[in-house]
Structure formats: structure tokens, C-alpha cells
């Protein structure tokens, strides 16, 4: 029972990270019609920037929180810049092309980013202990004797807050309305004076930021290298598909469900590859049960 509860906590933290990663995918897909296979790779590159700042450039006499803050800040600033760069250098030029072509372009982005990172940081295993809340803060639930780290709670809270924050931003602000208008029809939105280019740029920047946040937050859980964070894409896609590539709340729910589904089997099956099988089964189940044509809403 205690083990089960402990795995639930791990699963929910993991689910929070999947939700964050999936939110970025849904945001970019809804507003620009690009299904971003490079989402994991973008998060990966930003995480390595954060790692570089944390271990390479920070001064040993700085307090731990300052190094952490600067590292996360550097990673996020880089991510925003990369999102903007991709929009201006690549995706602006293919706006009217089919969704499949845009998706294949993101595979090119994935390959380039992954090998650039592997060129700079080699194929070593890294660890980056970035915690949102101090590690020492642990509560023990009296019923099941399970320690709950403040960091796990922080991740879950951040995921929920971002999902509802983004949802509110899309629903209640004028720029959010502009983004929804572009996702419905870029042509008529531009006829109504909506700045389509600006909307695309902001979507890519936000999506890239969220990807970086997800990848940085997963680092205390795992030893990562250039491929393992890139491959986070499949879990993020599974969560995004549960939300139908449209709904933000359902995407977050999907992320948590997937996190739990991938964590519980590790009680019995010690295999690094098995969670990938769980993700594939979830993807297949979602796609075959739901009407696949429902996913072409924002695909222009």
C-alpha cells in the first residue's frame, strides 16, 4: 500500500511534466497548424543550456538558489529565442503548406537540434538537480507513511496553473482571442485585421518556453542525455492526443493519466523501455476509439 502510494506520487509528478510538454504541442498545433515533432528536442537543447550555466559558468561561491535561478532563466530565455527564430526562419515560409509537410519539417528541426547538442555535449549521461522547492521540505502522510516532496507538489501545481493560465489567456484576453481566430481560419483572421504573423511568433515562443520548462523540471528524476529528452516527445504526443490536440484541460488530465499508467508497471517490470510501450498503446487506443478526422481542426 505504501509502495502504491509512493508510486502514485512519482506518477503524478511525471504526469505534470508530460502535461507541460503536451501543452506546448497543443498550443503550437492549434495556432499554427504545425504538429511539432521537435518539441522534445527543443526542450532538450534548452535544458543543456541550463546545465551549462549551472555547472559551467556559475561561480562556486554563489548560493545554490542563485545558480538554479540563473540556470533556469538562461534556459527559458534561450527557449524563447529559439521559438522566435524557428518561426521567422522556417515556419513563416510554409504557412500555406499541408500539415504533413510542416510536420516533416519539424523532423528536420529534431535531427538538427539533436545532433547539434550531441556535438557540443557528447553522448554522456548528465544530471541537473533543479528543484522548484527545497529538497528538504518533505511531508509524511500519516495514513500510508508516504513522504511527499515539496518539489513534486510544486511540479503538479505549476502544470495545473499553466494549463488554466493558458486557457484563461486564450479565452479572456484580446490577444488570446486573436490566437483562437487564427487557429480557426488564418485567412479570415487576417482579413479582420488580426496580426497573423505576430500570433505565430508568440505561439512559437510560448510553446518553446513550455517545452523548456517541462524538460528542465524532469531533470531531477532522471539521468538525461541528448536522446532521452528528445524522446520525451512520444509521451507528450500521447497526452496531447488524449486532449484531441485541442483541449488544454483534457491534455493536462491526459498527462496525469499517462504518468500514472507509465509508473505503476515499474512496480513489477524493471525495464527502461516498457513505458514507451504503454505510451504507444495509449496513442493507439485514443486514435482508434476517437474519430481521427476530428484532429484536423486546426490543420489548414
Amino acid at each position: 500500500m505504501a509502495a502504491f502510494a509512493a508510486y502514485t506520487i512519482i506518477g503524478l509528478s511525471l504526469g505534470g511534466i508530460f502535461s507541460l510538454a503536451a501543452l506546448g504541442i497543443v498550443l503550437i498545433y492549434r495556432t499554427t497548424g504545425v504538429l511539432n515533432f521537435a518539441h522534445g528536442a527543443m526542450g532538450m537543447f534548452s535544458t543543456f543550456i541550463a546545465w551549462q550555466v549551472f555547472y559551467g559558468w556559475s561561480h562556486p561561491f554563489w548560493p545554490g538558489w542563485l545558480s538554479t535561478f540563473l540556470a533556469v532563466l538562461a534556459g527559458l530565455i534561450f527557449a524563447a529565442g529559439m521559438g522566435l527564430f524557428l518561426e521567422f526562419a522556417v515556419f513563416r515560409w510554409v504557412r500555406s503548406r499541408e500539415p504533413v509537410v510542416k510536420a516533416v519539417i519539424t523532423i528536420g528541426v529534431l535531427l538538427a537540434l539533436q545532433s547539434a547538442a550531441s556535438l557540443i555535449w557528447k553522448n554522456n549521461q548528465y544530471h541537473l538537480p533543479i528543484y522548484l522547492a527545497p529538497q528538504q521540505w518533505v511531508w509524511v502522510v500519516p495514513v500510508a507513511d508516504v513522504p511527499i516532496g515539496a518539489n513534486s507538489i510544486a511540479i503538479i501545481v505549476v502544470a495545473l496553473a499553466l494549463a488554466f493560465g493558458l486557457g484563461a489567456f486564450l479565452r479572456y484576453t484580446s490577444f488570446g482571442r486573436a490566437m483562437r481566430a487564427v487557429s480557426d481560419s488564418p485567412t479570415s483572421a487576417s482579413l479582420w485585421g488580426v496580426p497573423v504573423g505576430k500570433v505565430g511568433a508568440v505561439s512559437w515562443m510560448l510553446g518553446s518556453l513550455v517545452a523548456a520548462l517541462a524538460a528542465i523540471l524532469i531533470t531531477p528524476f532522471i539521468n538525461f542525455d541528448t536522446t532521452s529528452l528528445t524522446l520525451l516527445i512520444i509521451d507528450a504526443l500521447a497526452a496531447a492526443l488524449i486532449g484531441g490536440l485541442v483541449s488544454l484541460p483534457l491534455t493536462v488530465l491526459g498527462g496525469f493519466i499517462l504518468g500514472l499508467l507509465e509508473t505503476y508497471p515499474t512496480i513489477w517490470i524493471q525495464s527502461i523501455g516498457f513505458p514507451r510501450l504503454v505510451a504507444l498503446v495509449v496513442i493507439l487506443a485514443v486514435l482508434i476509439v476517437r474519430n481521427p478526422r476530428g484532429f484536423s481542426v486546426a490543420a489548414k
Binding site: L35, F37, V90, W93, V94, R97, P99, V100, V101, A103, V104, I105, I107, G108, V109, L110, L111, A112, L113, Q114, S115, A116, S118, L119, T227, L231, I233, I234, L237, A238, L241, S271, I272, G273, F274, R276, L277, A279, L280, I283, L284, L287, I288, P292, F295, S296, A299
Partner: protein
């Protein structure tokens, strides 16, 4: 029609004759690259059929090649059969897996199919090719070692008889490429292209979507598996690394880059994929203006990614498709100026 067929058979024979002599005189490394180039070209050819003809996306072609490789390795190492039998077994197993992968494709298309095949490639890469539970199939961490293999009673293992393996591979590739070119205008080829243009319209015209989509996936997987099943012969053993997810992604990227609708583009892409990284790692180091530099394999993949992006923005039909249309344009222009009529097919 018949003259066109004769022309194509002649073309395949000439291509075989020219390509067969090229690796002679080079060192073992380049001979290995030549054989590897044909194996990768099979993988790209499988995408010409699946994506170019039938319009289905797949990001797991290296998985089919890997399954072919492991099956062939298992057959030779543990059952000690003739390599021809091992190749046939590899092709059959890859075909079966292709049909299974094709089942979800009956309800999916476009990017959703890309997501599913990406997941399949990842599951095989991280789980089936690497986990202890599948050691009976993958031969454990060392993989299957193919020390001495015979085909038609001839020795053709990697240590001494690499050229023999290369010639068999090349002959098979020319044959399969010829069959694919001819498939394009056959009845099945017309049904495939009808599915590519519009599944709804194809079904309305009486094309059995289930049968032809599954057939396309099976045939495509069999082509990739045919190349892959020669991998243990050429490399001496099998390991998960050559057939991991990033090879599948490179297959998709390079097939699109070279021109996914054209059979010769697959040969071009295979050579690109095998020779460029090796040439880079061999000669790409030294000093330039006092600074030591080293160009590693990673630069190849960066180049593939960047070239793919540039190509999709600027040359949507791929490198081969663009060259082809330029040559035809130049020929018809020359015909108009010189008064010599050139038939533009």
C-alpha cells in the same frame, strides 16, 4: 509499351554493371560503405513505394530493416541455414510486421499515422531490441555474430568476401527497383496512386482500401527488411544502434530530401547516407588557419536536418525531382529552338 520495358531492363542492367565495378580497388572501409549504401537504399526504396506511390507516412522503416536483420542473424547463428534462407525469413517476418503496422493505418492518415509509426519505432528501439525479455530474438547484448556464412554455396561473409555480398545486394536492388518502376503503371500501381490522391475517391471507384493499404505496408516493410537482412552478413553482427529511431527519422528525411516519388532518388540517398558520414569522419579533421578542427558524424545529421528544411521550403519535389524537371525543361526548350522535336513523357 514493350519497348519501354526493354529500355528499363537495359537501364537496370547498365546501372548494375556500372555500380558493380565502383568499389573495386578501394579499401575495406569503402567496400563496407558500398554494401551499406545498398542496404540504406533498400530502406529509402521502401519509402518510395509507401510514401511516393501510396501516400502513407511512416517513421518506422528502420524498424522493419532491423527486424529483417535480427531474423536473418538468428536464422544463421542458431539454426545455421544457408544465407538465402535467412534473407527469405527476414523478408517474410518484415512483411508480416508491415501488415500488422498497416492495421492502424486503415483508420489513420497524415500526421496521426506519423505519430503511431514514431511510437512503434521507439518501442522497438528502446524495448524490443534492447530488453532482456527479447534476448531469444536479439541474441543478447552482443547480438548475433555471423562469422561464416554461405549463399548458393559461396562464402560471402564480411571479413573476406565483402564484394560478393555487395554484388548480390546490388543485383537484388536493381531487380526490386525495376519491379517498382514497372509497378507504377500496372493495375496495382494505379490503385496505389488512386489511394494517394484521395482515399474516398479510390474507394468509390471500387479499390479495396483494406487490401491495398495492407499490401502497401507489407511490401514496403518487406523491401526494407530485404536490405536489413543483409546487414549481419555485411557488418558481421547485429546491434540495435543501426536500426534505432534516428535511422528511421533519417530515412524519412533523406527520402523526402532526395525526392520521395522517384526510384533513382533512393539509390542516390543510400549512397549519401553511407558515404558522406564516413568521408567526413575520415578526412574531416586537421588544422585550418592554425585551429584544429574535427568534423564528426553529428555534422552529417545536422546537414540532413537543415537540408531537409531548405528543400521543403524551396524544392518541394526533392533533389532528384527538381533535377529531372530541369533536364526535361532544358530538353524541351532546346527542341523548340533547334527545331528538333523531343518527346516529353
Amino acid at each position: 509499351m514493350t519497348s519501354r520495358l526493354m529500355f528499363r531492363v537495359l537501364g537496370a542492367l547498365v546501372a548494375f554493371a556500372l555500380l558493380a565495378r565502383i568499389p573495386v580497388g578501394f579499401d575495406v572501409g569503402f567496400k563496407f560503405d558500398a554494401a551499406l549504401a545498398v542496404i540504406w537504399a533498400f530502406g529509402l526504396l521502401s519509402l518510395v513505394l509507401l510514401t511516393g506511390y501510396v501516400g502513407q507516412i511512416s517513421l518506422c522503416q528502420a524498424t522493419f530493416a532491423g527486424v529483417g536483420a535480427y531474423t536473418a542473424g538468428m536464422m544463421v547463428s542458431s539454426v545455421h541455414v544457408d544465407y538465402l534462407v535467412a534473407v527469405i525469413a527476414g523478408v517474410v517476418v518484415a512483411f508480416a510486421l508491415g501488415v500488422i503496422v498497416g492495421l492502424p493505418a486503415l483508420r489513420l492518415r497524415g500526421i496521426t499515422l506519423a505519430i503511431v509509426t514514431l511510437g512503434i519505432a521507439l518501442v522497438f528501439d528502446r524495448y524490443i531490441f534492447q530488453d532482456h525479455a527479447f534476448e531469444w530474438f536479439t541474441g543478447g547484448t552482443g547480438g548475433w555474430r555471423v562469422g561464416q556464412a554461405t549463399m548458393f554455396g559461396l562464402r560471402m561473409d564480411s571479413s573476406t568476401h565483402l564484394m560478393a555480398a555487395y554484388l548480390v545486394l546490388l543485383a537484388l536492388f536493381c531487380l526490386v527497383a525495376l519491379l517498382l518502376v514497372n509497378l507504377h503503371e500496372s493495375g496495382a500501381g494505379r490503385r496505389f496512386r488512386a489511394i494517394r490522391d484521395s482515399e474516398l475517391a479510390a474507394a468509390t471507384m471500387g479499390v479495396n482500401l483494406t487490401r491495398y493499404k495492407l499490401l502497401a505496408f507489407g511490401m514496403s516493410a518487406a523491401i526494407a527488411g530485404m536490405g536489413g537482412s543483409f546487414y549481419p552478413l555485411v557488418a558481421g553482427s547485429v546491434s540495435p544502434q543501426p536500426f534505432w529511431l534516428f535511422t528511421s527519422l533519417q530515412f524519412a528525411a533523406i527520402a523526402v530530401l532526395m525526392g520521395v516519388r522517384y526510384v533513382p532518388a533512393a539509390a542516390l540517398g543510400g549512397a549519401f547516407m553511407a558515404f558522406v558520414p564516413d568521408v567526413l569522419t575520415r578526412y574531416g579533421h586537421g588544422t585550418f588557419m592554425g585551429h584544429a578542427y574535427e568534423i564528426s558524424y553529428d555534422w552529417f545529421q545536422i546537414a540532413v536536418g537543415v537540408l531537409l528544411i531548405v528543400q521543403l521550403i524551396a524544392l518541394p519535389d526533392g533533389v532528384w525531382g527538381d533535377l529531372r524537371s530541369r533536364v526535361r525543361h532544358a530538353r524541351s526548350a532546346a527542341g523548340a529552338v533547334g527545331g528538333r522535336r523531343v518527346k516529353v513523357a
